[in-house]
């Protein structure tokens, strides 16, 4: 597979996430679209790590070049899990105060 196919797929997924953030008013859906964008970036990181590893394997059969990208993806998942737990707690607190998850109620940031 040419690398362009992976780049186009990830760009499309990222853009769908952006469109979701811009067009939806439900705070939980906006949050889910951010997760979608994170996953598009993860897929592209793994694809490029494969490319670099394949190039290095031609010279050295036991090369581990490119393994850092897969560990970056692992750490992105770790940070996303922590982010989701705090973000959903904030959304639940907001729902308790204004009885809605509409982000238009958040634009005042007080009361």
């Amino acid at each position: 597979m040419p690398i362009q196919y992976y780049i186009y797929l990830c760009l499309a997924l990222f853009s769908i996430g952006i469109v979701g953030v811009l067009t939806r008013r439900n705070a939980i859906i906006v949050f889910m679209c951010i997760e979608l964008m994170l996953n598009a970036v993860n897929l592209l990181l793994v694809a490029f790590s494969k490319v670099h590893n394949t190039a290095a394997l031609a010279a050295d059969k036991t090369s581990m070049l490119g393994i850092e990208a897969q560990l970056f993806v692992f750490f992105i998942m770790v940070v996303a899990a922590a982010e989701v737990s705090v973000g959903l707690a904030i959304i639940v607190m907001m729902y308790r105060n204004v009885h809605s998850v509409d982000i238009n109620f958040l634009n005042r940031l007080k009361n």
Binding site: M1, P2, I3, Q4, Y5, Y6, Y8, L9, L11, L13, S15, I16, G17, I18, V19, G20, L22, T23, R24, R25, N26, I28, I29, F31, M32, L36, N39, L43, V46, A47, S49, K50, V51, N53, T54, M64, G66, I67, E68, Q70, L71, F74, F75, M77, V78, V79, A81, A82, E83, V84, S85, V86, L88, A89, V92, M93, Y95, S100, V101, D102
Partner: protein, 167 residues
């Protein structure tokens, strides 16, 4: 067309269609279920790239833990299609145009990049995605970030409890 190529196209179409359905579904529960379909498709891509550890972690952490948390919060708030707040159609159109322009600019950029020609992703080979090699790299070169991430989780847990506590 070989089987890996067929699987690539199938998973790509599945991922894109499910991602669109996440955005257009009126019911938030349906959005969550479509997002789980996206994560399964992306995990399939990881397996095609021989990144087996990341495929399993993606399924366990994202489709398992995070999506259950989302579903739990949505059901706790009793959200459904009738309570869904809607933006007016002009704002939706503006959002779609903005996202489409972003996609168009980046796609034209990639099309012009001649450096990317003749670079192919080989599927089903390579050993960097195996858990043995990833574990060695994680606990030798990346042991400090690994420990810091445990502190991050502790602070996230404390933060979630403090925010969720009735003030």
């Amino acid at each position: 067309m070989s089987i890996t190529q067929f699987l690539f196209y199938f998973l790509t179409v599945l991922a894109l269609f499910s991602a669109v359905m996440v955005v257009v579904s009126k019911n938030p529960v349906h959005s969550v279920l479509w997002l789980i379909a996206v994560f399964f498709a992306i995990s399939g891509h990881y397996i095609l790239l021989n990144a087996q550890f990341l495929a399993i972690v993606n399924l366990i952490v994202y489709a398992g833990a995070i999506m259950v948390l989302f579903l739990f919060v949505i059901m706790l708030m009793n959200l459904n299609a009738s309570t869904e707040p809607q933006k007016n159609n002009w704002l939706k159109l503006a959002g779609v145009i903005a996202g489409g322009c972003f996609l168009m600019v980046l796609v034209s950029l990639v099309k012009q990049a001649n450096e990317l020609n003749n670079i192919a992703v080989t599927m089903g080979t390579g050993e960097i995605g195996l858990i043995k090699n990833l574990g060695k790299a994680l606990f030798n070169d990346f042991v400090v970030p690994f420990e810091i991430s445990s502190v991050l989780f502790l602070s996230a847990m404390v933060g979630a409890v403090v925010i969720g506590k009735k003030a």
